[in-house]
Symmetry: C2
Subunit: 511 residues, 2 copies
């Protein structure tokens, strides 16, 4: 534990010490500490300044608020977010210093002025982002600079990807490792928790790290978390992969790409992300986990994340370029997709769809099953398990034999979940609302982006039980007064917002 | 006052009421309220969500933190920043609602995707920024989109300027009004408080609104505030201008351009601003105050805000374009400037220089005087007070006769300051440090940007007494151990930071 404030020492190097005091506040966003106004005057610190905070081996930068009474002179108020993240103890002395501008801020300036960055510059910036030496606002400027694709060369995106993976944990799971990654935007496209057990059931190592939702209703991690913990420590993950040659975990807890975790938080709030950052984000985690065989599922459609051919080509080229630089075998599948896949949108509803497929229930969504088999087949071919053209058949075999289900139960159990869970026992939000059709006809399309937006208003992805169940899907016949879909949420407030949004955001096209 | 929570009503429209409780926290940055976790669950609100807060006629959006104990169920904790800004009363009921994404967020998306905006779109976005319906992070993305000059057409910058002025107060002071505006970046370039009294002493209406420092050590408003209050209400300003046909006030208090005030806060933290935003910011305030004769002082040099000829041409063209669209007579003066102007850098030190010139003290900075006379002369010519080529002589006349000083004393008195203040009585920071020369030679240059950075570390512009006095200026002879300049601050911490920065940031070039 740190020694108490030695005021002579303090003046010589700009460092001072304050005693941690817990404050019962949860911000859910930027990190903040509170000091007494008198200490603020004494140390020349004003509300909104940033402090470098050190304790034990750890260090971070935190913005400071001031108070006259909430904490006393000599104390520093620490919010619940920081306590739970960093395990600071009440009464512990924290070493503090006014933070100057991070030197890498000038690298952001350079990028805003459209100058090229070297690898050294990119690494120093990404490292400062990972260490919270660059604040959210500064970070937003860096992300914004990537929206113009001409501002980042392929080489720079390679640097970005490399720096993101190198500033996090690097793990090696085996010689031949496989992964599949879907580009979000298509609600309900929860193929990973089906593909992983199929591929793993053939002895292939497939350590699936996934992210939480960025702009969609649920990410694979959000969905898998309904079935088992996904925020496992590295040691536990290695054990899971050793036992089952697979896992389905959240990459963020692993700190595989801490800089990218911060990118995701920012772009989630903006509701928009540059393509180059998206590709770098995906590839950096492949690199960090030593993946060398990769299938990319890139749905394309009028309301998908990627909708025009120019963007598709840009993203494809970038994947191909990066996989070559990183020596990864890649296959990119782009399929036209007119609406969501499966019936459930939202973590619990999607987990139910997944389990319905693996348990081969009669009410399983056939489109989700079909797509999973195809992608699992592609992956089995890519790793050389089977000849080209024979993958799909092999995938289907272990799904129907329940070998894939057995593998999924092993994974759920190894990660600490209830392996006996039945699809129909997964809980849904207690407040619900049925949207009815005002006409007869056929469902021509379902608006993906609006579906995601309304799910967001209902509380996804943080509220797992929230979401939308599609009682009617594309191509199905509808009569007036038929239930088109069902909203689920845990809050009247959120239901009101969602119903209100329906006035502007069309979900179903029926004619 | 609002009625108390009617829970039936609440469920129908998503609105609920909580009772304001003062919380002794000052953030200095984003606005935050705190609610009890139980209310959070009840209303479906999580830490980091944004709420629309209404009371009396007012409305704003504020981020929410949660607590288990700091505020009780039914209460809402309001921070000191908000109380002082909005005068919310303890115990007052606030009307609350979960904020959806502001519709204008999609206009920011559009700009990030490099699409053109119509005036209607620009106005709706700028209006939402002015009303705090767009948060700081979203705003950062919009500002970032302006760094690529190709992303905003001249027409769009005109829209931006028009929207900024129209979403604030619009004032008319007279038929013929004059103004001069300097583009920052040159430390000590405090010509306005000298030009305004000179021009006003000839009966010209010159209502000078100025900004606080963005990336520099002091803005005109920061400097003038040393001499008199600058945050006057509109009614008072009109009285000052009626009495003295001039004023020297801070535009921000007037809410002439509330959207621009938010831009400035963000770019100040980033330490960088796009040129197009800078020009829009300047012109919007001219438009809002009905200025129709304008002299722009645009210093150019290797370390000035604008340093290369391409940028100079871009900024000049933009000024000319906008002044034509807004029907403003303009003259742009670009002079090569190799270092700071005057001797003092920082609000108090600059105010001392200004008063030394107006009081015609022997120790007055001659370069500052010369430049002020030239610009005042240009302005007198532009409004037609004197023939071309005769302005400088006229300006000098009223400076030497002390008519300008008399006018300045009138202005200071009308704004509520001490009109008898002597230049040598202006207070400076109690902690000081003399930087000495390590060699003999001549001062070849002084690094403007580094000067600003070190002043920032010393506490400018918020700490008025902080800054740097240049004992030696460009072209002057220096002997080893001579004092080059003197640092002033109010905090040992800040002095340490500034001295530390000297290792990397060169101030003087001597040879």
């Amino acid at each position: 534990m740190k020694k108490k404030n030695n005021s002579k020492n303090s003046k010589a190097n700009g460092i001072f010490f304050l005693k941690a005091k817990y404050l019962d506040i949860k911000t859910g966003h930027p990190w903040i500490v509170i000091i007494n106004e008198e200490d603020g005057r004494r140390f020349g610190i004003r509300p909104g300044d940033e402090l470098v905070v050190k304790w034990k081996e750890k260090q971070t930068e935190i913005a400071v608020d001031t108070t006259r009474s909430l904490v006393k002179k000599g104390e520093i108020g620490v919010f619940r977010d920081i306590i739970s993240r960093y395990r600071i103890k009440q009464g512990e002395f924290l070493e503090l210093k006014l933070a100057g501008h991070a030197p890498s801020l000038k690298i952001i300036h350079k990028k805003l002025n459209r100058k090229k960055l070297s690898y050294k510059e990119m690494h120093s910036l990404i490292s400062d982002i990972a260490k919270h030496r660059i604040n959210d606002l500064e970070l937003a400027f860096f992300i914004a600079s990537a929206f113009d694709e001409k501002n980042f060369s392929k080489e720079e995106i390679y640097y970005l990807t490399k720096a993101i993976s190198e500033t996090g944990e690097m793990i090696k799971f085996g010689k031949v490792t496989a992964d599949k990654h879907s580009i979000g935007g298509i609600p309900g496209n929860r193929v990973s928790p089906i593909i992983v057990p199929i591929v793993a059931s053939y002895g292939i190592t497939i350590p699936k790290t996934s992210s939480r939702a960025i702009t969609s209703a649920a990410g694979t991690a959000d969905t898998m978390e309904v079935l088992a913990p996904v925020g496992l420590p590295l040691k536990k993950i290695k054990k899971v992969v050793k036992e089952t040659n697979a896992c389905l975990i959240w990459g963020g807890a692993l700190r595989l790409a801490p800089a990218d975790d911060r990118f995701i938080k920012i772009t989630r709030r903006l509701g928009l992300e540059p393509y180059s950052k998206m590709v770098a984000s995906i590839m950096s985690k492949q690199v960090a986990t030593g993946i060398n065989h990769l299938v990319i599922d890139m749905p394309i459609g009028p309301t998908a994340k990627i909708s025009n051919t120019k963007d598709i080509q840009f993203v494809k080229n970038l994947f191909l370029y990066l996989s070559e630089r990183f020596n990864i075998k890649i296959k990119i599948i782009s399929q036209k997709t007119m609406g969501p896949i499966g019936r459930g949108i939202g973590p619990c509803l999607e987990a139910r769809d997944v389990m319905r497929v693996l348990q081969q229930k009669k009410n399983r969504p056939k489109d989700l099953e079909k797509k999973s088999i195809q992608l699992a087949g592609d992956l089995l071919e890519l790793v050389g398990k089977v000849k080209k053209g024979k993958g799909k058949k092999l995938a289907l075999k272990n799904l129907q034999s329940r070998n894939a289900l057995k593998k999924m139960q092993e994974i759920i159990k190894a990660q600490g979940g209830d392996s006996k869970i039945d699809s129909e026992k997964i809980p849904l939000g207690k407040i619900s609302y049925k949207l009815k059709s005002s006409q007869n006809g056929f469902v021509r399309s379902i608006h993906n982006k609006n579906l995601n937006k309304i799910c967001g208003l209902l509380g996804t992805p943080l509220t797992k039980e929230a979401g939308i169940y599609l009682n009617k899907s594309i191509g199905e016949k509808v009569k007036k007064e038929d239930v088109l879909c069902t909203f689920y949420t845990d809050s009247e407030q959120r239901l009101i917002l969602a119903k209100h949004a329906l006035q502007k955001l069309e979900l179903y096209k029926i004619s």
